[in-house]
Symmetry: D2
Subunit: 399 residues, 4 copies
Amino acid sequence: MMSAQGRHFLHIPGPSPIPDRILRAIGMPIIDHRSAEFARLGKEVLEGCKTIFKTSRPVVIYPSSGTGAWEAAIVNTLSPGDTVLMAETGHFATLWKQIADRFGIKVDFIPGDWRRGADPAAIEARLAEDRGHAIKAVMVVHNETSTGSTSRIAAIRQAIDAAGHPALFMVDTISSLASVDYRHDEWGVDVTVSGSQKGLMLPPGLSFNAISEKAMAASKANTLPRSYWDWQEMVKINANGFFPYTPATNLLYGLKEAIAMLHEEGLDRVFARHQRLAAACRAAVAAWGLDVLCQNEAEHSPVLTAVLMPPSHDADAYRKITLEKYNISLGSGLGKVAGKVFRIGHLGECNELMLLGALSGVEMGLAAAGVPHRSGGVAAAMQHFEAADAGNAPVAAVA
Amino acid sequence: MMSAQGRHFLHIPGPSPIPDRILRAIGMPIIDHRSAEFARLGKEVLEGCKTIFKTSRPVVIYPSSGTGAWEAAIVNTLSPGDTVLMAETGHFATLWKQIADRFGIKVDFIPGDWRRGADPAAIEARLAEDRGHAIKAVMVVHNETSTGSTSRIAAIRQAIDAAGHPALFMVDTISSLASVDYRHDEWGVDVTVSGSQKGLMLPPGLSFNAISEKAMAASKANTLPRSYWDWQEMVKINANGFFPYTPATNLLYGLKEAIAMLHEEGLDRVFARHQRLAAACRAAVAAWGLDVLCQNEAEHSPVLTAVLMPPSHDADAYRKITLEKYNISLGSGLGKVAGKVFRIGHLGECNELMLLGALSGVEMGLAAAGVPHRSGGVAAAMQHFEAADAGNAPVAAVA
Amino acid sequence: MMSAQGRHFLHIPGPSPIPDRILRAIGMPIIDHRSAEFARLGKEVLEGCKTIFKTSRPVVIYPSSGTGAWEAAIVNTLSPGDTVLMAETGHFATLWKQIADRFGIKVDFIPGDWRRGADPAAIEARLAEDRGHAIKAVMVVHNETSTGSTSRIAAIRQAIDAAGHPALFMVDTISSLASVDYRHDEWGVDVTVSGSQKGLMLPPGLSFNAISEKAMAASKANTLPRSYWDWQEMVKINANGFFPYTPATNLLYGLKEAIAMLHEEGLDRVFARHQRLAAACRAAVAAWGLDVLCQNEAEHSPVLTAVLMPPSHDADAYRKITLEKYNISLGSGLGKVAGKVFRIGHLGECNELMLLGALSGVEMGLAAAGVPHRSGGVAAAMQHFEAADAGNAPVAAVA
Amino acid sequence: MMSAQGRHFLHIPGPSPIPDRILRAIGMPIIDHRSAEFARLGKEVLEGCKTIFKTSRPVVIYPSSGTGAWEAAIVNTLSPGDTVLMAETGHFATLWKQIADRFGIKVDFIPGDWRRGADPAAIEARLAEDRGHAIKAVMVVHNETSTGSTSRIAAIRQAIDAAGHPALFMVDTISSLASVDYRHDEWGVDVTVSGSQKGLMLPPGLSFNAISEKAMAASKANTLPRSYWDWQEMVKINANGFFPYTPATNLLYGLKEAIAMLHEEGLDRVFARHQRLAAACRAAVAAWGLDVLCQNEAEHSPVLTAVLMPPSHDADAYRKITLEKYNISLGSGLGKVAGKVFRIGHLGECNELMLLGALSGVEMGLAAAGVPHRSGGVAAAMQHFEAADAGNAPVAAVA
């Protein structure tokens, strides 16, 4: 048996590995959250967030998990009895829907097979049918972490526009932000939900709402009781770099560092890197003779790859063996695909050799667990990188 | 002018200084939150929390500020139109009341002058009048961080019992837990609210609800919509060491370390230390010829001391000068006492010399700001410590 | 071009990657080096070192590079004009010889081709010829970091014994200690030289001399002037856990942690892991159709593998390309083999996936640099691990 | 009894407390010490050192304790039989002399009473007598850490010049550099010896020699065997940012940060801060009715204050009680003054409130240990700071 010595390969689709720079930033002594020094930090991260969400409008930062930011989007803009349109892209879309359910929202949930993104045409059709504009919001998960499918947000915006529908457009970017190209303002998104522990490379504990003027107006008109998640007081107090309740200062130190790192690399290079890593990962899966869960070429996720196990093989048994023998964590199948898929994360702090080390573990694990496959996956991924380096690897764009 | 070199003296009443051991624990690489390794961590901190709250019942841990745990206590147990009894002990009691207001709760707010804790007799009287048992909950702040008064929770429990009233008893211990003696089970508290950044010596970002069987039953019956704060799913999934949404793993590393540190010192010694520091601080204030805001001897806070400025002197101007000259942060007056008091924190990681260094800064600052006072405060605090060491200093108990 | 994002793959043969646990230990606040608390630390690491060197005799710890411990071995035991026997195993043996030269020691330097360890038979022959016992010491490098050849220390001890020669036996284990099986007492070594930044997984800055009774006696008799490196005062003061001059306290924190980690894994498992990694690395080199510098099967290093470049290809140009494209550091050729070899480190904190990631970078780099080779090295290394896991991979022992 | 909770007050005269910024810098992952990235670091710290020593000539950096840099100064410039002139300022001057003794140097040791710095007049007299210029070097300790007396280096330079003597001038600044004004070039020093763990605020483990052209020439001519400490190869390889043997990379990270911090504050402000702290400390000692060991007003150390115990009171018993009761480390008396003095460090990361907290502990400890004294020391120190802030406190200059 192999030992657990050495660096663990954390290749779940988030929380992603936290860079040393960020861990060190988080470890700084805490300061007075009502001081001028804090206000400088607060303003810097609040402004910095706008550059990541690509918006000129406010981004609010909650001390909470991403789940909290889902709830915030709902309770600020919707009321019991309101109708919204959502698309069943996978487990996380389903969870977001459940939150809406709990708050008495009627969800028109376009069914899905968990193997592709949300269908812009289907959304357009539903909206076109809704002549009375009963639908208050369209709510879509950008990158469905449970399936590795990335919905085409720009296309969905176009669909909404084509239908001439006034619904708010709310997008969950928890696992895509800062890994996949995303444009809150340009794509006309009204509320962008996100979290800290994926592309931002931070520990979990911060979540975000980027808010359009239209969403802000909806919030002002909305009477659903709320306090912790309320945008109004948050935005008002944020203007001075402060927060209405004690902020998670140490995580804000990390956020400042993360934003700096992303801009040092350049967001476009960050996005290209994720595309390159994901394409190499899919090349490996193909070489193994296994199937990627996502079936739409244009919607493969740049941040994770979900792999279907051959029939009668349990993904969790496989993951357990791989963890014990090779010190690597892979993501489990969730919800409908529990036991049927495993997920390889390649997001945030990830580069070619980190991924190739991980793929080596996946491949050796397949052998150790007796999962039928062809070898050569790592070699195929290497070939992809070499071709990409030589400028020969076309990269699918998701937009 | 003095420089800002060297260690900053952070003597606000929270966030309290984070010990190096805890900062290092928080800086560990993140792990898979669905792994067996995580489950061990989760179980350890969930069990450990019970020893700090002194309860055998579940304690839930939220990734949020303490404000979130206030909201959680409300939305799990109360519904719009319900009546609760609260006591105006200061700014934070007022804020908690505002949250209740936002959720449509009718608050009977016993007025207070911000210079003492909640009055058990007044509570008993109100409850005795409430023959129809319309009051669903009594909600009290244990340590009012804005005033430095500590309410006598055991006495309030007796008051509720004396009135024979079935109301839930909910107590905010955000700034008292792990600094001031507290006993969730023994004192018959139904919901204890707390946070990470005070006596637990952690960064902000975790909050807590300790939940009695009666509160849990109320929660099951309660129909107020809720999701993020819902106890039911949290407690169910906590049973296996996991959380219903991504936990703030790095803060949980710190929580594990904090609980270990508290037990290494011994909770009773922790409480005695805070009493000793607070008494020394009050001795200094008395020597300066200034007044402590809290006027009830039995209710002086062990975690902070709020000091009244002489008339026509602005506390914030004084704090600014003291910060610039002596590199020390003091707490500002909040709400009704803004500008009229400053607050000296002596909680969490604090010992005799840290406090004496801080009191030196306070005393020199008074001189620098031209605030009328007598010198000799630091000397008085030293005398208190010497007397305490010799066993001659009676320490007021708050219970 | 690829970016430098993500974790750097540091695969030079030392300094080896420093585990997070050790980095955190080093980051603790410093303490009084004359306190009882320090004495406990001092005693613990001094005793702990004995378990790593496998000796019951003193191990002294210098605040210095390993080079200092080389010098210490010489100045404590030898005098100008003394003769010693050394073996030219590579660059580091040559450097150690140069230090002896500088101190006026006559070195009989058995020539070598840098492709194997020291020859026990040659040593026996020289010693047998030295009937007058002019040779005061036999000095050998255990693991020649410049070539990847490991000398057989037990066999050399037998050679000395077979020659019936009283020379001191001094061994440099700078790059082998805590990675390769080593037994100071059992193998009759008189002075073992070592350093912190290889198998001990620490930063550079500590070096070691393990000292036999015979060496200690030689030191007492030796008149060569010395102070910093002098064993006598060091050992005397070490008895109480202290040091004759200010110790590198923070590195001692790390040393304590390193010793704990080695025993948690178990030294035999540590050694087996290094053997397994090295064998996999050689399997990769063979698959590439390249040659390992070391030509003696019984002497392949478990800590690094030196790879010969094909004629007319520059190793440093290759390393530069590989670093820029794939964010991996490989070791350069040193001295006689500069430009002709590159070295792959697999020591200290290293496991299967870390090595496979590194080998991926080596293989892609060979392609990028236009170095003639066959692909399939990573695949061969994976096969080696799978065979080892199945119990089918015989591992060469070096002893 | 008081607990050991909370921050330890480390007030020995070095190692001084390490700032969090520096601890975090040291905790960065290690890099290849032969890489271009390292060369940039190497050049930056080598150049940066020049700004701290105030020299345009090379400063070499050893991975060693300061003791090593003492030895380096000797073995590079002197040979057995050479005569040097030293002054017995205290324990550390005596230790440096012992090293010279061990290397066969004849030391003319001007006797001293450990209560003042080296006497420029006495040095001038000896040099004037030495018409044959037998004296090869004048060796003086700038700040005698054992006594708290600071020798006047500029005046000694004038004395050497007045005597028209060609001797090298070698100065130990281990405990003064970066705390006390020092000018290698301007004051015509030939070799400046220093260490990392005092004014540079680093852990122990780095030491320094700043080298004049004249000293470098002496080194070239000197035949005393040496290797580790040899300047020639060091300076040659330093030119490219590298080192002749593995450097203590993590400490160099810290050195880079320390130099940055010193320049952010400004060296003159750093020096003034130390003067201010030391004067306040002496004010406290005077108020206690105790005597400072140093008897020369012009030579009081800005980095530590040695305090004489009243007759028949043991300083170490006092220090033990103070440590146990108040969690503060004070320096012990060394050598001739063992048990007779205790030393208060106020160097490196130290500010007003840190010192006042420490002085509180000293004062309460005096009471607890039954040492005859007057109270009021802390108050006197506070008054000094207030006067200094008001511009009324004349500060003695040492030059």
